[in-house]
Amino acid sequence: MTKKITIEPVTRVEGHGKVTIHMDAQGNIQQSRLHIVEFRGFERFVQGRPYWEAPVLVQRLCGICPVSHHLAAAKALDVIVGAGTGDGLTPTGEKMRRLMHYGQFFQSHALHFFHLSAPDFLFGVDGDPAIRNIIGIALTKPELAVQGVMMRKFGQEIIRATAGKKIHGTGAIPGGINKNLSIEERDEFLKGADPLNADKMVSWAQDALDFFKGYYHANKDFVDNFSYFPSNHLSLVRKDGALDLYHGVLRAVDADGKKILHDIDYQEYADYIEEEVRSWSYMKFPYLKEYGKEKGWYRVGPLARLNTCDFIPSPLAQKEFEIYKALTHGKPNNHCMLMHYARLIETLHAAEKIHELLNDPDLLGTDLVTKGTKQKEGVGLIEAPRGTLFHHYRINDNDQIEMANLIVSTTNNNEPMNKAVNNVAKSVMTGKEVITEGMMNAVEVAIRAYDPCLSCATHALGKMPLEITMIDPNNVVLDQKRSH
């Protein structure tokens, strides 16, 4: 007799997904899958729209990282309006966009760490689900909850100052930006009342990192062994190999750190990356062409970024980066749970960069837009908080979008998340008679590490009903449990 376990919906992630686990009579895991059951269809309905609408239209994909979509689309359109492949903008144009992007990174990472993941660290993976959520944090460690909320607020305010609105703004336009930063806005961020100023944010980012390091050292065995599996890693890096979240060349390394994609120009991404469709999920499976479907899949996101880059171009984050790299003796890190570590190093990097940019007079400049010879096609890549984001547009003679292809970060992580689910299911559920809530949460913890953005909305505060159903081969429901 086989059993099928369904975890639906997966909680404390952005969007809606479900997990199915098939077990045989001996309790061995036969197969586990993460299904993405939402269908968005943006690639289709952006067709026929004037191209300059794209950055504003496609960002509606998501309410958590609209800025990433906004900027990736704008970068693709920079190419179309002849402003170069991402580095041809005016200093004000590029730096305003970077500021917007770092603000976005800062708030998104803070959201993920404090609101979505920290409950697992504070209360344990199998802690009481009634308090294992942000409300539980607010009750037991109010200062941590306040910190999370304020860090998000700071990031959001940066986005408002650069894009006009905290969510779904209009700042980036093809070839540049539509506003500069005013002196008042800049001073507010630099010298704002405690805690909303750049200095405090840098120090809080360090605190959050210390908090995780404390957790890591106390739970080293668990963290190191939780869903470890080797994989390829892909991300953008600056031409000199530095971590760059806004622009760069595409690099991939294998599990041992060997370069398997050699700093290519991302305009040619289609020569290197292909996508596969599988019947049970709305999400496609991308892989590196050269290595095929079996071996070519890769991870993106914080873990991948710190594996591909050679150094971090901001002093405090670089120092933390060296400590972090020493854990794996300079080799790529393949520990699922250390994604949180990497994410917090990036949070610190973003805070430092925000600080640095705010002191840059270029932000106050008035030369906002560049245009050149028009092209028919453009690709824009950006490192979104969750990983590499691809936007690719082609326009017709009437300036309407003819074709759009989006490979979003979570899509890139599709195969790794499935691997992680399978791994954890095998290690915690094999041979077990009774499936506990803690076991189910362990599967979710693995997914959560990737901070997947399954669609556009946060429904999840760890309070959504979790349902588990055991079904025999004749589809008779054996047992059903529901928790909330």
Partner: protein, 231 residues
């Protein structure tokens, strides 16, 4: 100013030159009556009905009715407000008005009226009509999804010889405002820009120009429509 007459709007004593249309007379007295199809300097048509008021028990459009001595006008009663809100909602359901990705969002008169009448969601079912986008002209994109048939472009966008660039096509609910393809080739940048500005919604868009006005600086970002008239 010997021609001054007295009239009342919602019981408020007003004065204006006799023969003026009610909308203008009201504006001179600091009273805002919403309009969509009406434009200063253009012969009024009374098409959109949003400026409807009640005079002597009858519904009249205040953009086409001249004010007369002793006239008593009812404009802000609950009934009239409800009627105007219905009209705004009808315009929203009979087209495809997706504000989020629209260039005119923040400068759109229809959107501003939606806010003004605190429309949450239309009471009428959306029709989701299938409408096209005409992008064949080199200067302008005409997005039929957003057109509200106010006729402002037809009446104001003309060449030196007085010929309109825009015209109606088809009848009834299949009506469309289209750009004459031959005339469109002769359109200059200033005319294209004027056409976009005169369009109360986002149906006429100048090509390659979008979102360059940041949020916060758009027409209705800071204050609701009619604020420039209201006392």
């Amino acid at each position: 100013m010997s021609n001054l007459i007295k009239f009342k709007i919602d019981g408020v004593e007003c004065m204006a030159e006799g023969g003026k249309f009610i909308v203008e007379a009201a504006a001179e007295n600091g009273i805002y009556i919403p309009t969509l199809c009406n434009m200063k300097g253009v012969k009024p048509k009374g098409a959109c009905r949003i400026c409807s008021v009640r005079i002597n028990g009858r519904l009249m459009t205040s953009c086409t009715t001249p004010v007369t001595d002793g006239m008593e006008i009812e404009s802000e009663s609950e009934e009239i407000r409800e009627l105007r809100r219905s009209i705004v909602e009808l315009l929203f359901v009979s087209g495809n008005h997706f504000c989020p990705a629209c260039e005119k969002s923040g400068s759109c008169e229809l959107q501003a009226l939606g806010y003004y009448y605190q429309m949450m969601v239309p009471r009428f079912p959306y029709e989701f009509p299938q409408k096209g986008v005409d992008a064949t002209s080199s200067k302008i994109i005409k997005d039929q999804n957003r057109c509200i048939f106010c006729k402002r472009c037809i009446k104001t966008i003309k060449d030196e010889e007085g010929r309109s660039f825009f015209a109606f096509r088809n009848r009834g609910h299949r009506t469309e405002v289209v750009l004459d393809p031959v005339m469109a080739e002769k359109m200059d940048d200033a005319t294209a820009q004027l056409a976009m500005e005169n369009c109360p919604v986002g149906s006429i868009l100048v090509k390659e120009k979008g979102f360059d006005k940041p949020i916060g600086t758009r027409k209705f970002d800071k204050q609701p429509i009619g604020s420039d008239i209201k006392l």
